[in-house]
């Protein structure tokens, strides 16, 4: 079986579910002939036609509002936003409507839809193209927030996101779109939307991350292994709802925990995880919980963006720091 990239896995999942379910419909800017600016929808217009693969006018609030209406009628819209920074014009529709339609109608109406967007920095894109503000969405009751970090997880999680009866914000790390390739069987098997993934078992320290920072987390673990340090790596993946149990079980074993994310520090999802662990695993902790995050600033333009991201060496140093606690 050929190995494919994360963005190809997204394409494969979309094609699979469109084939399996005639209610699945795609909309977004440049998703038709152009196949999306990252080519996530390439070939789908040719395969499924203009009725189901809709190039929209340039208007994000419109895209979100349309998807909400379609979803209430039983369609399963999967809308693409060109970049996370361009989901912001749609925030009103997403927060005020998609997230609460089920609740305010006591279940009479609902919004089974997916909002996809590439996110994160490190691809030398122009300004506004490097956002990682997943915490905004994670804060909104009624939404699910899902972030894949490998081709296999992208495929399985996207399938489940489309099949889920509620609105899902599906954020795709642009830095990983064409990074590591994997075999991804096109078997239509979804992955759970409320389980974190243990990427590597270990004994000494738990590294918790998601999105593109999984890359540095994995490479740091490789180096630490050479020094005889065994880390457990967890890809949170489903930012909301958060699978606390998997995290707690790991901390109970290792007693040490480092959370690594690209988003700004204050109000980042790392704060929430850290607070949950502090409340529920205090007596297992042998060292303070450490967060390695982006800074509380706007992601700089390309020339300085590398300074913004947490580095592999920072992860290694942090591991060594927590290991100093007996």
């Amino acid at each position: 079986m050929a190995e494919i990239t994360l963005v190809e896995a997204i394409n494969q999942a979309l094609a699979y579910e469109m084939q399996a379910d005639p209610d699945v419909i795609l909309l977004g800017e440049d998703i038709g002939k152009d196949g999306g600016v990252f080519r996530a929808t390439v070939g789908l217009l040719e395969k499924f036609g203009e009725e189901r693969v809709r190039d929209t006018p340039l208007a994000e609030s419109m895209i979100a509002g349309l998807a909400i209406g379609m979803a209430m009628q039983g369609l399963k819209p999967v809308a693409e936003f060109q970049f996370m920074g361009f989901t912001y014009p749609a925030l009103d529709q997403i927060i005020n409507h998609a997230a609460r339609m089920r609740n305010r109608t006591r279940g009479r109406l609902s919004c089974p839809l997916v909002f996809r967007a590439p996110f994160g920095c490190g691809i030398h894109a122009p300004e506004h193209h490097s956002e990682s503000t997943e915490a905004i969405y994670a804060h909104i009751p009624g939404l699910r927030v899902v972030i894949p970090s490998s081709p296999q997880r992208a495929y399985g999680l996207l399938l489940s996101a489309i099949r889920d009866p509620d609105p899902v914000i599906f954020l795709e790390p642009a830095r990983l779109y064409r990074w590591a390739k994997q075999e991804v069987p096109d078997d239509g098997k979804g992955l759970p939307l409320d389980r974190a993934f243990i990427l590597q078992s270990g004994e000494d320290v738990t590294l918790i991350s998601w999105g593109a920072m999984i890359k540095e987390t994995l490479s740091a673990a490789q180096k630490l292994k050479k020094d005889g340090i065994s880390v457990e790596i967890i890809d949170v993946a489903t930012i909301k709802p958060l699978d606390k149990q998997t995290l707690l079980t790991s901390i109970e074993k290792t007693g040490r925990c480092i959370i690594i994310h690209e988003a700004a520090r204050t109000g980042g999802v790392g704060e929430h995880i850290s607070a949950e662990l502090a409340e529920q695993a205090l007596f297992f902790l042998k060292a303070p919980i450490i967060r390695l995050t982006g800074y509380d600033t706007i992601v700089p333009y390309a020339k300085l963006e590398n300074y913004y991201l947490p580095k592999e060496q920072q992860i290694i140093d942090a591991v060594q720091r927590v290991l100093e606690f007996a």
Binding site: E29, D30, P57, L58, P89, H124, P126, A302, L304, Y307
Partner: protein, 357 residues
């Protein structure tokens, strides 16, 4: 039944595709020096775009949107605006920005990924990247000018794709209600990345969107720098003198990929670009200047050399710009950095030092 309103949209052209005068010649166009100036700026714009793309292709510049084929729009705007008017641009307005004092090297800095490209500009705004958002800022600025009775105008640009955004309509709407001193210019280059003009609106023109907001909209041949310059001038004067807003739809063609990250061959029908090229603005004016016997091959070669040298100077200045210190990423976030961020600033400085070291 009775008809209670009827509307018309005018189309303006002065210099046609074959370089004949087909409209009333405005007085500026009777001044040969003025014509030559417009020509030189359009050529400089084109030389600059060509060089910027070359820099991007060789890894020395980030993603870059060219303005090829759209030079007349931005040159006409830059020429008609007064120094104390305010420009609220989008990302293709190089000629206008340069004419208003932004060095070409700053434009390269911006697309090279350096915020210092936005340092200069007085009251003008930097490029707007979130498509369609800037019209409202322009309306806010125009409101301030009007409150202070300053007799200045705001001009804001956007692409035709941007006209689909709610913010765009909201800006037109308030400009009509509050009678703001503002000119909206749509650079209708027929494409929003891969989406053609026909898929942005079913309306016959974009100009008519002003009608619903209660003011005049008109179409202008965006390949005709004389018509662009004239209509922008008329609109700006109305804005300054009488607080009357205007919407101008410039009809031209994007003779390039959307940006260097795009491949238009994926979606653009074959042959259209070549057909449209016959209308392009620079050759059109050049033939006219030659007919007036004020331009020839020797002058052309000389101009090309001058523009190449001017652009080269900008490139050298850009390439010689030392990277900003890493701490710049947080130093401009607030008027005064809160003490709670001092620790993070220190970390950023350390990371910067390590990476440089």
């Amino acid at each position: 039944m009775k008809i209670i309103a009827r509307f018309e949209i005018s189309y303006y052209q002065i210099l046609n595709e074959t370089s004949e005068i087909v409209g009333t010649l405005p007085s500026f166009a009777k001044d040969n020096e003025h014509l030559l100036r417009l020509y030189r700026i359009m050529v400089l714009n084109r030389v600059f775009d060509t060089k910027a793309i070359a820099l991007q292709r060789t890894g020395r510049l980030g993603t870059y949107p060219s303005s090829l084929g759209q030079e007349a729009v931005f040159t006409g705007i830059g020429d008609a605006m007064l120094k104390n008017d305010i420009l609220v641009p989008y990302y293709r307005d190089y000629a206008a920005m340069w004419m208003r004092g932004i060095p070409l090297s700053d434009i390269l800095l911006f697309w090279g990924g350096d915020e210092r490209g936005n340092l200069q500009g007085g009251e003008d705004l930097p490029f707007s990247v979130p498509v369609g958002s800037q019209g409202l800022h322009a309306a806010g600025i125009a409101t301030a000018l009007k409150i202070r009775q300053e007799k200045r105008a705001v001009l804001t640009t956007c692409g035709e794709g941007a006209t689909s955004q709610g913010d765009f309509y909201e800006a037109l709407n308030i400009a009509g209600i509050w009678k703001l001193p503002i000119v909206f210019v749509i650079n209708n280059n027929q494409w929003a990345i891969s989406v053609p003009r026909s898929q942005q609106t079913a309306a016959a023109t974009l100009a008519q969107k002003a009608i619903a907001a209660g003011f005049q909209g008109e179409q202008v041949d965006g390949n005709d720098v004389l018509a662009v310059r004239e209509r922008v001038d008329v609109a700006l004067t109305k804005a300054r003198e009488e607080n009357i807003p205007t919407l101008l739809e410039m009809i031209c063609y994007r003779q390039c990929d959307h940006t260097t990250a795009d491949e238009a061959t994926r979606y653009e029908p074959k042959g259209v670009r070549d057909l449209e090229w016959k209308k392009e603005p620079i050759m059109r004016l050049r033939r006219y200047l030659e007919n007036l016997k004020i331009w020839n091959q020797i002058l052309e070669e000389q101009l090309q050399k001058e523009c190449t040298a001017e652009v080269e100077k900008a490139v050298q200045a850009y390439l010689a710009t030392k990277p900003a210190p890493a701490s710049d990423m947080i130093d401009y976030l607030y008027a005064k950095l809160p003490h709670t961020l001092f620790e993070q600033r220190e970390q950023i400085k350390q990371v910067g030092d390590q990476c440089h070291g």
